[in-house]
Amino acid sequence: MNNRRHFLVKSASALTMTFIVPSLLSSYAQAKKPLDQKVTDKKSWGMHIDVDKCADGCTACVDACNEENGLTGFGRPETDSQWIRKIKIKDKTTEKITTMPMLCQHCENPPCCDVCPTGASFKRVDGIVMVNQHTCIGCRYCMMACPFKARSFVHETLSTQNTNAPRGKGCVESCNLCVNRIDHGSETTACEDACIKAGHNAITFGDLKDSNSKVRLAIESNSPRRLRDDLNLKQKVFYSNI
């Protein structure tokens, strides 16, 4: 009796695994970009931030990033990770006060990648600067080298993580322009989505090589600047109206 029941259960499971699960997965995969496809330099991801549209007190981008990447704090702000943060600045000459998000600037000549002894900090051919969580040894030299303080070190044991954003205790991490979304075929980041949803439209993300992309149009119509242009790092994050 028991054997027959086991046989039926196992058969049903096998059928499910063979026919139903793949069909479910294939319908998901069809809608997205195949993950085994190599990253190419046909696209160059970048971001434009119009600081005049960035609302004082709004943290929609920060909250969205935290949720997207599972960045739950431990109540210790000096050691908790921040991939994107809000900054309020005042112009020394005009005294204009602006608020804006700061994140990894995805430099074309990234100092973090230059100094990383193992090459764990790397720049993809599509311009995304990120950390290989398998080869980062946690030396923090990249944090010393970054002129924008864009990186965080994971100071605590992580108990829950989002599957789309693997993190590692003792490793360094930073904004990766929602690389998991991009590799699945999406062309938005969590912070951009949140900023649009909040009605501000300060953040525009997209392909810098596509002359019709919204990020290119935003850059061309605003004549933005890069932060610390004197360092010639050629960042992919542009700021307008600073």
Partner: protein, 391 residues
């Protein structure tokens, strides 16, 4: 034939075991501290996302600088053919290897992922000065081992001068590499200058010579022998030259920074209004570490071993402050992300001087690592013939 022989350390048994157990205990504390930091995560240390390198790095960099500098005595013999130092050359090379191991162990045990040391040893990014340093350190280790062998084994003794010269060249490059870890950081205004490389070299000469003399004093006490006056006088002269060289390069370093207008803010932070960092700079690095020992030695009677001991101790403590001011002071000053703006608010401490209070675990790791260097020396001089004596 030479007029000296090399002996093993013959310290009183009880004293030997007392020192051995004490150092062993400190090493265990270091290991326990490291294990705790790795298990809990680095939040238990004083380091954070603002001050990413802390007390362990001060210890490690100081020890690595000492490792290079302590070879001075051997270099004087092999590279500059000073016969006076020849009997002391094996000891000098042994100290170098011991301090190098200690400095590197501290660095490794402070990594976020020390278990991935094998990754660091097998995967290199050759654009990184850190990766080059891994080669420089391991190469130095090998060269020192061969150097010691060539000095102690009569059959290969004819190569010792050549290997000594290679070791001398290698240590200059090595300390240049250590200084360049900071000198190549364009993001940090306190660092981005090549003057740091020669500054580190003269620091290594000073601290290395000081450590050599202090250890020589301890060993001569344990062995109940006297250090020849000629050695004391020569080391004293070297100390004066190295103190002057340090003052020269320190002034050059700060004048260079003061001349570059965008670096004036960080300079005034270190020199004038940096609170604890300014105090550490003037009282620790400059006063205790350079000016007082220099004045003391220049007005002191030649050849007084007690005076040289005090000078060496002061230079060493001052050296520790010097490395602390460079490492912590350079990070405490906030990054200049917006040169034309004042940062009013930030959740990531972009607008404040960063604070750093080292934890007991970092101190434990540093002391444990330093003890490792001393226990290596103790074990090797007890079991192999390193200590010179007149025939």
């Amino acid at each position: 034939m030479s007029d000296y022989t090399l002996n093993k350390l013959k310290a009183p048994r009880l004293l030997y075991w007392g020192i051995f157990l004490f150092l062993g205990f400190l090493i265990l504390i270091g290991l326990a501290s490291s294990a705790y930091m790795e298990h809990e995560g680095h939040y238990v240390t004083g380091m954070n996302n603002q001050i990413v390198w802390g007390l362990p790095h001060i210890f490690a960099v100081t020890l690595i600088i000492i490792a290079s500098g302590v070879l001075n005595i051997a270099s004087m013999s092999s590279a500059f053919n000073k016969k006076l130092y020849k009997p002391l050359a094996p000891l000098s090379a042994l100290f170098a290897i011991a301090f190098l191991i200690a400095g590197l162990i501290i660095l490794v045990l402070d990594l976020g992922r020390p278990d991935r040391l094998i990754v660091a040893m097998t995967t290199y990014n050759f654009k990184s000065i850190f990766a080059w340093n891994i080669f420089l350190y391991s190469g130095f280790f090998v060269i020192l081992a061969v150097y010691i062998w060539s000095m102690l084994d009569f059959n290969v003794n004819r190569f010792s001068s050549l290997v000594g010269k290679i070791a001398f060249g290698w240590r200059i490059i090595l300390t240049t590499g250590t200084g360049s870890i900071f000198g190549f950081l364009v993001a940090r205004e306190a660092y981005s200058t090549a003057v740091l490389a020669p500054l580190f070299i003269v620091m290594s000469l000073l601290y290395g010579t000081a450590v050599f003399y202090l250890l020589l004093r301890v060993i001569s006490r344990l062995q109940s022998i006297d250090i020849p006056d000629e050695i004391t006088k020569n080391i004293r002269r070297l100390m004066i030259i190295f103190l002057l060289a340090n003052i020269y390069f320190l002034i050059l370093y700060h004048i260079t920074n003061l001349y570059i207008s965008k670096q004036i803010a960080v300079e005034s932070f270190i020199l004038l209004n940096g609170g604890g960092y300014t105090t550490m700079f003037w009282l620790g690095q400059v006063g205790l570490g350079l000016v007082i020992p220099l004045l003391y030695e220049m007005t002191n009677d030649e050849g007084r071993s007690f005076g040289l001991t005090i000078t060496s101790l002061m230079a060493l403590v001052g050296g520790f402050f010097a490395v602390a001011v460079i490492i912590i002071g350079g990070q405490a000053f906030p990054l200049n992300i917006f040169p034309d703006h004042i940062i009013l608010e930030s959740s990531f401490y972009d607008n404040v001087i960063h604070s750093y209070t080292p934890s007991i675990f970092e101190f434990g790791l540093g002391v444990g690592g330093t003890s490792l260097a001393l226990i290596i020396i103790l074990i090797l001089i007890t079991n192999l013939k390193f200590i010179p004596a007149k025939k």
